[in-house]
């Protein structure tokens, strides 16, 4: 008997209630039992002390639980009492059909509860009421009881589970197609609450692809096998649901298996599982692509934790450094660094250790003696509590080799351009050399005559010799300049005085300008600093710009036939500009610096493109613009030489 929560003032009624030939149970909305009368205890044989919480429900026939449950729901909702017939298990293990009344019941705590009253129906035998609860039971009875306890336990578990997980539950006699479904069951399959609960109702919902599975599981069930399988249903609205059904045979009724089970809507978890699997697949795919891309771009990726000094390398990293995957990554790799690059690599590492991002280029000498050029960058992850670098190392050996090859080709091209210019210049070179030669010849002839005279004029003869020497020097200078300009030499980056370079080129071209009757006007700012570059190359650029200007004036000059070269220093760069009074720029200014773009018949058209290549290789700029009045100005800027 449970009555500890009932108020004392009702003790008389309680005594009455204890002796009326009815079963009474009071429970709260959680179905936790608050009270049962003696009639209940005697009928069910469940000792008050063994009834805790909700286990009293085990006394209800599994197929009738939903019936009582629905009535309970109405009672708790305040919809009044319900009369119904249901089976309860008596202490002998047999189910008895009773008329039951389920009604709301206000608990002493003030909360709404409910009560189950077995008022009518099968009379309770006097003998049973008088049964001594403590009397010994026969062995078979004991066995039966333990089986029933197990059954009750299972029933209780299903009920609890259903309430907690909003999982639909059912009990089924599959052979007779007699089923009981919980409200949740109806909801999950979107079956009308009024519809008779038959297997066919569920089958109608099953996804066509899963029908065979469903049918075979039902068939297995009819022969008494437990089931646990998943299938898809299509709801009337066209929605797809993943359902997991679990059925367990709880006992045989007249030789027929009776199942109790649950159906669980696992759509969400299945969908998220599918999404997860898809994401995993994508991630695997991305990782695979990344690995391929790393191989293609010869870029290895690493993660380096500063705090623990632990690193993780991608496969490509190991390939680049030709390292053994089981080795400690960095130590072995850093041993390969070219001795000349050690200081810069050490600098890189110490910067990294102080938490700075790093970026650098160095060479490795591999075990087979080959050299690799490596570019390495590392970025400190900003939002990482642990100081971790993520970085990449790229094998840029090929790029460097191609650049070197390109430089060689560029040098060859510059040479071709120079030689081509030499052809153009031959006439003015002849002029330049002819003048002093003519002088020397004249002087020598005059000298000979002076010395052969009867009274040799030694003083005048000496004068001719001095002039000869001067002219010979002048011719030699012309030859020297030409040799310097047209000889191919390896590039040397040095401090170059652009003024001096312009004057030298101007001297070489003096005859050319005179021949074209064009004034070369050098307005050089003597305060400019030296620039960083190769003198021959820069002279080549100046030569090209001068020749270009000269051509422009020669072909279209008006009265004013002038080429003006100016130097100035501004913003860390020295600019040399060459303006002419020629025809000006055509419409294709964009193509001016393209190779083989030429408006002239006697040029290869590579002068300006070579000039651009040279200037850009020195981090400079080259350009052209139309003059306001007449002609065009070509210019280039080169950063000043810094020690």
């Amino acid at each position: 008997m449970v009555h500890h929560r009932v108020g004392r003032s009702h003790i008389d009624y309680l005594g009455l209630i204890q002796i009326i030939p009815s079963l009474i149970v009071v429970a709260d909305r959680e179905d936790v039992i608050w009270f049962s009368n003696r009639g209940w205890d005697v009928f069910t044989g469940l000792k008050a002390s063994t009834i805790d919480g909700t286990s009293w429900i085990n006394a209800i026939h599994p197929l009738d639980i939903h019936k009582i449950g629905n009535a309970r729901a109405r009672a708790l909702a305040g919809d009044g009492g319900t009369d119904l017939a249901a089976r309860l298990q008596a202490r002998d293990g047999n189910f008895r059909n009773l008329h039951l009344h389920v009604a709301p019941f206000d608990l002493a705590s003030g909360d709404r509860g409910w009560c189950l009253i077995g008022m009518y129906g099968c009379p309770i035998k006097a003998a049973e009421t008088e049964l001594d609860l403590n009397s010994d039971m026969s062995a078979s009875e004991t066995k039966r009881h333990s089986e029933l306890a197990e059954l009750r336990r299972i029933t209780a578990q299903f009920r609890e589970g259903q309430r907690l997980s909003s999982t639909g539950s059912f009990t089924s006699d599959l052979q007779r197609d007699e089923n009981r479904w919980s409200e949740e069951f109806y909801r999950i399959f979107e079956i009308d609450a009024d519809a008779p609960p038959t297997v066919e109702r569920v089958r109608e919902r099953v996804h066509p692809d899963d029908l065979a599975l469903f049918d075979s599981e039902m068939e297995r069930g009819r022969t008494g096998h437990n089931g646990d399988f998943e299938f898809r249903v299509i709801t009337p609205k066209g929605g797809l649901r993943y359902i997991r059904g679990i059925a367990r045979m709880i006992y045989h009724l007249d030789g027929r298996p009776i199942f109790m089970g649950i159906v669980q809507d696992v759509t969400e978890s299945r969908l998220s599982e599918i999404a997860l699997r898809k994401r995993e697949g994508e991630l695997r795919q991305a990782n695979y692509h990344l690995t391929i891309a790393q191989g293609l771009s010869k870029t290895g990726i690493f993660i380096w934790n500063l705090s623990s000094d632990e690193s993780r390398w991608s496969d490509e990293m190991y390939r680049i450094f030709d390292a053994n995957p089981s080795s400690t990554p960095w130590t072995e790799a850093l041993e390969l660094v070219h001795p000349m690059d050690r200081p810069s690599v050490d600098g890189l590492i110490s910067r990294a250790r102080s938490g700075e991002d790093f970026e650098g280029e160095f060479r490795l000498i591999m075990r087979d003696g080959t050299t690799k050029n490596i570019k390495m960058v590392g970025r400190l992850l900003a939002d990482e509590a642990e100081r971790t670098f993520v970085g990449a190392a790229q094998d840029i050996t090929e790029v460097r080799q191609q650049e070197e090859a390109l430089n060689r080709i560029r040098a060859d091209l510059a040479h071709v351009a120079r030689v081509s210019a030499l052809g153009t210049l031959s006439a003015s070179i002849a002029h330049e050399v002819s003048q002093p030669l003519a002088g020397i010849l004249n002087n020598a002839n005059a000298c000979l005559r002076m010395l052969s005279a009867d009274s040799p004029n030694l003083e005048k003869a000496l004068e001719t010799v001095r002039r000869s020497l001067r002219d010979a020097t002048r011719a030699t200078e012309v030859v020297r300049r030409l040799r310097v300009l047209f000889m191919r030499e390896a590039l040397t980056v040095e401090a170059v005085d652009l003024n001096e370079a312009a004057r030298e080129v101007g001297a070489i071209l003096r005859g050319e300008f005179w021949r074209g009757l064009v004034l070369l006007d050098l307005r050089l700012d003597e305060t400019i600093p030296k620039v960083r570059g190769d003198r021959i190359q820069l002279q080549q650029v100046i030569l090209n710009l001068f020749l270009n200007a000269l051509d422009a004036v020669s072909s279209g000059g008006g009265d004013e036939r002038r080429v003006r070269a100016e130097t100035k220093f501004n913003g860390g760069c020295v600019t040399l500009s060459v303006s002419d009074t020629g025809t000006g720029l055509g419409p294709d200014t964009e193509k001016l610096f393209d190779a083989f773009h030429t408006t002239k018949d006697n040029r290869m058209g590579i002068g300006l493109s070579v000039s651009r290549a040279i200037v850009e290789s020195l981090d400079g700029e080259i350009g052209a613009k139309q003059n306001e009045h007449r002609g065009a100005t070509f210019y280039f800027s080169i950063p000043r030489y810094a020690n």
């Binding site: 002819s434 002088g439 004249n442 005559r449 005048k460 002219d471």
Partner: protein, 129 residues
């Protein structure tokens, strides 16, 4: 003795301008040298020149332009052009049959050209002898 023929050298290049007159003097001529066409045109020597040795490519007024100017002024002075450039396209058309000496030239070549020019021309200088 007949007065020495008066020669004028007009050349902007100092190597030639300085050396040529010395040689010509050794040949026995009287020589004056000018660095530009303008200098020569402004000089009184213009009126007494027997033979002009004229450079073609000069800044300012060129040799041929000076020759044309002299013609315009009515002064027909025999002229030998001297040039270091063989390929000036307009040389032939400008100068016609006028003698041209290519720099560098030998002394015989020079002397022959001068003598031939002086002998085929009227000699305004001799009138004043």
């Amino acid at each position: 003795m007949r007065q020495k023929p008066r020669l004028a050298v007009v050349d902007d290049d100092e190597s030639v301008r300085e050396s040529l007159p010395d040689l010509l003097r050794e040949f026995g001529y009287h020589v004056e040298a000018f660095a530009s066409a303008k200098d020569y045109l402004e000089s009184p020597y213009l009126d007494i020149t027997d033979l002009l040795l004229l450079d073609i490519a000069m800044p300012g007024m060129t040799g041929p332009e000076l020759a044309r100017e002299l013609t315009r002024l009515g002064k027909s002075i025999p002229t030998i052009f001297i040039t270091a450039n063989r390929d000036i396209p307009s040389v032939d058309s400008l100068l016609g049959a006028v003698p041209v000496l290519m720099k560098p030239f030998g002394d015989d070549e020079l002397r022959d050209a001068i003598e031939s020019s002086l002998s085929t021309s009227t000699r305004p200088g001799s009138d004043r002898s």
